[in-house]
């Protein structure tokens, strides 16, 4: 009976293998032919390709089925002959140890190989604090990770089931439970307190004075930059004034706005406190500059800001990561639509002298097209403008 089973499956598998061979040869034969053929042929090739993989899977499944049957037959014959059946507890216990060893090596490999691919050390002042916090958390979690996983899989192997043994009845032990409630609580208190103060230090930046204010406005799918000009002050905005030429809706009644400048690249001087004033026009975006450990959402209707001080110029970073093409980037990190995956701005950190030269060369926001548009609007609605002025005087 058992042999019959094997035989049955052997014929089946031979049949499948033959089919597979046939399919492969068909695909192989058709592949070169299809290259020069019409679209119809392309679709046939597609389907034979699909069929090839389906057959491959069927073959795999059949092999699994055969192995299963063989195991079953082995078990049954062992039972008939009065021998011991396969001890799956032992097999699983050993597999647990194998998994533990492979897993330990695997995670070590990941930490060393891919861990080095992660971001270089922070290029901003607050980023250093953040990195320290990260290291503390990392050390604690990695220790716990290895200890608990080793315990888990070691216990599985050590205490794998056997008919000869009985488990140890051990429903609770208040002392042990108190210990392992208190220890995590202490460790977490350390993490909470250090984390809280790091967070406070990063977000509470009012003491730092003399920021360079830069306006960052997000919309699908680009960032608009506005520099404050010579007066160092950004003009106010009103979203209702947004037009094709006045892209971010600057209000030119505010004198501060007249010398504002637009830029294509976010250029900032090194060692200076930079304040990014952030808003979005259509949907939520997120200003993400991972090298500086900067991220804050750009929300329509809710202005946000992030203050940071870059410490490494682009050139210094290029030398550090040994990549002459390296650029700092600002990119969107909140799902915002079809173009979300490509919404980036180059950020360049330069010396103060370079910055002064660069900023002088930037175009004014209040350009000729805008002036013309504004004049036309003035001519068109003198009354309305007059009313506005009246309102302002009030």
């Amino acid at each position: 009976m058992a042999f019959k089973n094997i035989f049955k499956f052997k014929t089946l598998s031979t049949a499948v293998a033959a089919m597979l061979l046939f399919a492969t040869t068909t695909v192989m034969a058709e592949a070169p032919a299809a290259a020069a053929a019409t679209a119809d042929d392309a679709s046939t090739t597609m389907w034979t390709g699909v069929g090839y993989y389906v057959l491959l899977f069927v073959l795999l499944a059949t092999i699994v089925g055969i192995v299963g049957k063989i195991l079953r037959v082995y078990d049954l014959t062992a039972q008939i002959q009065g021998k011991k059946a396969i001890n799956w507890n032992n097999i699983m216990g050993v597999l647990c140890i194998v998994f533990l060893l492979a897993g330990l090596y695997g995670s070590y490999w990941e930490f060393t190989e891919q861990g080095t691919m992660s971001l270089p050390a922070a290029a901003s002042i607050h980023g250093v604090d953040l990195d320290n916090m990260f290291s503390v958390t990392f050390i604690i979690t990695v220790i716990v990770f290895f200890l608990t996983q080793i315990c888990l899989f070691w216990f599985l192997f050590k205490y794998r089931g056997s008919d000869k043994r009985k488990a140890y009845f051990y429903p609770h032990n208040n002392t042990i439970e108190k210990i392992w409630t208190v220890i995590p609580a202490i460790v977490l208190t350390v993490l909470v307190i250090t984390g809280f103060f790091t967070w406070k230090k990063i977000t509470n930046t009012t003491e730092v004075k003399g920021d360079i204010n830069i306006d960052v406005t997000g919309h699908q799918f680009a960032w608009e930059l506005r520099y404050p000009g010579k007066d160092g002050k950004l003009g106010t905005k009103d979203y209702k004034l947004t037009t094709g030429t006045n892209k971010v809706g600057v209000d030119f009644k505010d004198k501060n706005s007249l010398d504002d400048q637009i830029a294509d690249t976010l250029v900032v001087p090194v060692h200076k406190s930079i304040r990014l004033n952030i808003i979005a026009q259509d949907v939520i975006h997120s200003v993400y500059m991972p090298h500086f450990r900067v991220q804050i959402n750009a929300v329509p209707g809710l202005p946000t800001y992030f203050k940071f001080t870059p410490t490494l110029t682009t050139n210094e970073m290029r030398a550090k990561v040994e990549d002459p093409k390296f650029e700092y980037l600002l990119y969107c990190n909140k799902i915002c639509g079809g173009g979300h995956y490509n919404m980036q701005k180059v950020v360049r950190v330069v010396s103060q002298a370079e910055y002064d030269g660069w900023v002088a060369a930037q175009k004014p926001y209040f350009n000729d097209a805008l002036k013309k548009e504004l004049k036309m609007a003035d001519a068109k609605q003198p009354k309305a403008l007059g009313q506005n002025r009246l309102a302002l005087n009030n």
């Binding site: 216990f155 209702k240 979300h340 995956y341």
Partner: protein, 627 residues
Amino acid sequence: MSTLAVHDHGVESHDHDHEHHHDTFISKYIFSMDHKMIAKQFLITGITMAVIAMVLSILFRIQLAYPEKTFPLLETLLGHFAPGGRLAPEFYLSLVTIHGTIMVFFVLTAGLSGTFSNLLIPLQVGARDMASPFLNMLSYWFFFLASVIMLSSFMVQKGPASAGWTIYPPLSALPKAMPGSGEGMTLWLISMVLFVASSLMGGINYVSTVLNMRTKGMDLWKMPLTIWAFFLTAILGVLAFPVLVAGVVLLIFDRSFGTSFYLSEIVVQGQVMPYEGGSPILFQHLFWFLGHPEVYIVIMPALGISSEIISTNSRKPIFGYHAMVYSLIGISVLSFIVWGHHMFVTGMNPFLGGVFMITTLIIAVPSAVKTFNYLATLWRGNIRFTPAMLFAIGLVSFFISGGLTGLFLGNAALDINLHDTYFVVAHFHLVMGSAAIFGMLAGVYHWFPKMFGRLMDEKLGYLHFWLTFIGAYLVFFPMHFMGLDGVPRRYYAFTEFPSMARWLSVNVFITWAAILSALAQVAFLFNFIYSIFWGKKTTQNPWNSNTLEWTAPIEHIHGNWPGEIPTVYRWPYDYSKPGAAEDFIPQTVPHSQTMSSNLVHDFEDNEAGLAAFHEWVKANPPREEVK
């Protein structure tokens, strides 16, 4: 009828006359009011949804691994969603969105809680059925309708919702912002309202059944941990889900009736919109007020299931039963005051961020206690590796790995750089995705005999476990490092950034690992379906388990037990008790029958019993002296 039966189950007057009760096909299999059948309906619908969501994930994994390649098959299957054999960027986002929605709500909330709360609450507390069988039936059919509507959004011209499973407005509120925010989004919202209705009906039922319909002797501290977990989960759901409905209804108003609850100062594609005064952040508060308890709604039933399975298969009482219950309660309470950790970088007041950070990290304490208690349960056990046990162990392993990375993300300072990167993807896929799905699979393997009267094949179960377990780690472990390099989630392709393009080989690797794990599920599906019809017939108590459900007959009957409902005398974890003949003592065995194994501890609130025990000890000198 069944409620009455509980209160006077001493009187033998149940109206369960099987001769007079004729089930038609429709009343037995479709509009069934029997909790066991409803559990099966939830399970099979849940598994179907899981397979669909898994296929969606493979589709977008292929895009991530081969962003430049074309697959003519995709165009054949998906039409204009994959022009020229490449997924459209908007459709990629739809796939991500629907994958997340289905997995979180339809599989791990309804599929998990719906299946096992329905199956186990009446059977493990000793009730004839749920408190309200009719509401229970409605709960399933609302869920079914919600599933159908969610899937039907693939038939809409502009495609399904695509603003991410968190559907943050204004992206989800403005049809102009992306195609998926058109009719697809409307369907998503309708589906979700129905889903919440279903989940509330279920939750109220679970809570009232646990509170009111326990059998004689089943006090709260004799309930299995599964019941504790389902009970607390249901409370979380009842308190949290209505807030989501509120948020969703306001979003429907913004989308369809011109209100501006979430919208303010918006300019879409150069056009100034009239919305003023709303706040997009308000939606995030409402969403995460549900959203964070939701992740515990997902993981707690899985933790309950694994506690039961680990104890049964280690042949040892669960270590620190009380601590396990208190940590579940602690997690439940804390889960309501941590939602702000999803919003550290929204521009929320930094002080508030600090407070949320403190509450978030405190949750790690009860979670750590649970983990240590699992390990202590395994220690010196006599571990029987059933497939259910392996999956429960897999859950513990994932819970550790994924839980630890929560300490990074819960820290507001570290979250600045990790928020919305692949680190987050790795974190929640391990701790709530993989862990919860492993809990669910463990439950399926363990209670399959209870549901279908047959056993699943163990060897196929082993194959399924190892492939899935290894596959899941291979998929999610490398993602941590992508996140540490600042690679954002929900990116259609990493081709536009040279710094991210170097992760392409890792993406290819992850995709193949995902395909491997997906194929491994075929072993499960085959095993599941085959065993329903042709599996080996089970015995009444195949795992030598203590809980009440195994005292019910294999053949399903209305009211679960013929004659009286069994009375409960002890807690459910008397495994390998010294002095007992067997290595398990079911809950229905009174202490008077197990004198040789009784402990003083067993009579904490039973003075008469304690006196009888002391007399017996005097009469029978301790066992060690006999030896």
